[in-house]
Amino acid sequence: MLGIVGTVPDLQFPLAHGRVRWEGRRIGIDGRSIPVNRGTPALLAAALRASECIGGQDVYAFLVGDTGQGEGSRRLYRFLARHLSEFDLQVLTFHYLQPDVDWHGRVLLAAQAMPQRPLLIADAGFMYAAKMGGQSGHYDFFTPDVGELAFLADAQAPHPFYTRGFILHREHKVPDLIRQAHGHGNTAEAMVVKGRTDYIVENGNIVATVDTPAFEAMEAIGGTGDSLTGLLTVLAGSGFERTEAALLAARANRLTGALCDPTPATQVPELIDNIPRALAGLVDQKEKRSVRHGG
């Protein structure tokens, strides 16, 4: 089973966990239905569509309502620190959560104490907390965009908001930033750096790049990073080797754009609708057969 942890932008949404279902631009969990716009619901939607396409594993989510005040995130952190060891997950992806160094450390300890350590992916706020707490190396994957990579490369910045200007100025030099971030111990074992060119990184080395198909508009569309992380979660949990999973995720995410000719006004659900077609074009029958079932 694949675990995904994140928030829903609705203060009334309680702490909920359970298997997630695709309900046509909405996702269902524990008797509740959530619209797919951006953030963790978009990541979940992408994961569900991808898993459905390749016959992958069930998706299990841990969600809570939080609109930025952090109370929901802290409730979820407390739950995970107490109960994570009761779950058997092949992949555990952390997403939009209020960055909190203390709680991050407790949740990471709980993840490491699980009966079988899952492959750990951190994105968004949880990735910020991992870097801030000096614990990036405990993760299998980070999925930063170029701005977030600059933050990882800045030894002093506790949040992308404080990335120093002389580092931000080097954003066009992604390989330099990757080296610098790795040198400071601020990278996961592997990374997908999302941008005009997507960089697949293993232990600080660029092992592959993906730059086609290219759509300038994708940078403006909120949620395209979330969909990539959803794809990566499913592919990494479906028997693909780490670099291969990252490459497929990056390519499929771009192909979702190729199938709808996006503009800067395109909304991410339109791209997520294309995931099955995009993935089907990439994952051949042999790979489908090699998909491990479990959870």
Binding site: P9, G70, P158, Y162, A220, T263, P264
Partner: protein, 182 residues
Amino acid sequence: MFGFFKKKKTVSGQREPQSSVDRGLLVFENTSEVIQAENQLKKAGWPVKVMGPPPEIRTGCDLVVVFPLIEELNILRALESAGIAPTQVVPVSAPLLAPVDLFQTKDFGDYLMVRAANMKITVAKDSRRIVNISGGGCPDVPYLAEAMIGQTLADAPRPRDLGHTLCGYALELAFTELQRTC
């Protein structure tokens, strides 16, 4: 608000060192209280700034209000009467982090995108309607996107009013820059 954002830079791009001996930090429960306190104190004429806290009091998604120590009692009184008392008041003892002050603008023809730190906001040039918000990692980003997308720059709620985190604060800066340029 956000006057701190226009501070001068040295030739190398590093921010000018600031004297810290006469300054204190007001630490609050969350970023929304920081923003409220900043608004309140600036309205009352105090020369305060919002900055990043030093490592010893940093917990996560933080901002603090920097104030002249000599004014401590008056400032605390004003904040208490406004119902936003800080959780801690400490003297500045280490260099503080300055928020990002670089914007990147991208022209897509019919659309214009502005980025501040990790937050991007895009508008249609003809209608000045917000068509997308991307980037960020704090939980108020999807909430702000839901509230702002589809609204014009004139009518949209401001991130500073609805947001609570540093991502929300970065979006406010990008929003302000977009209002200035579009």
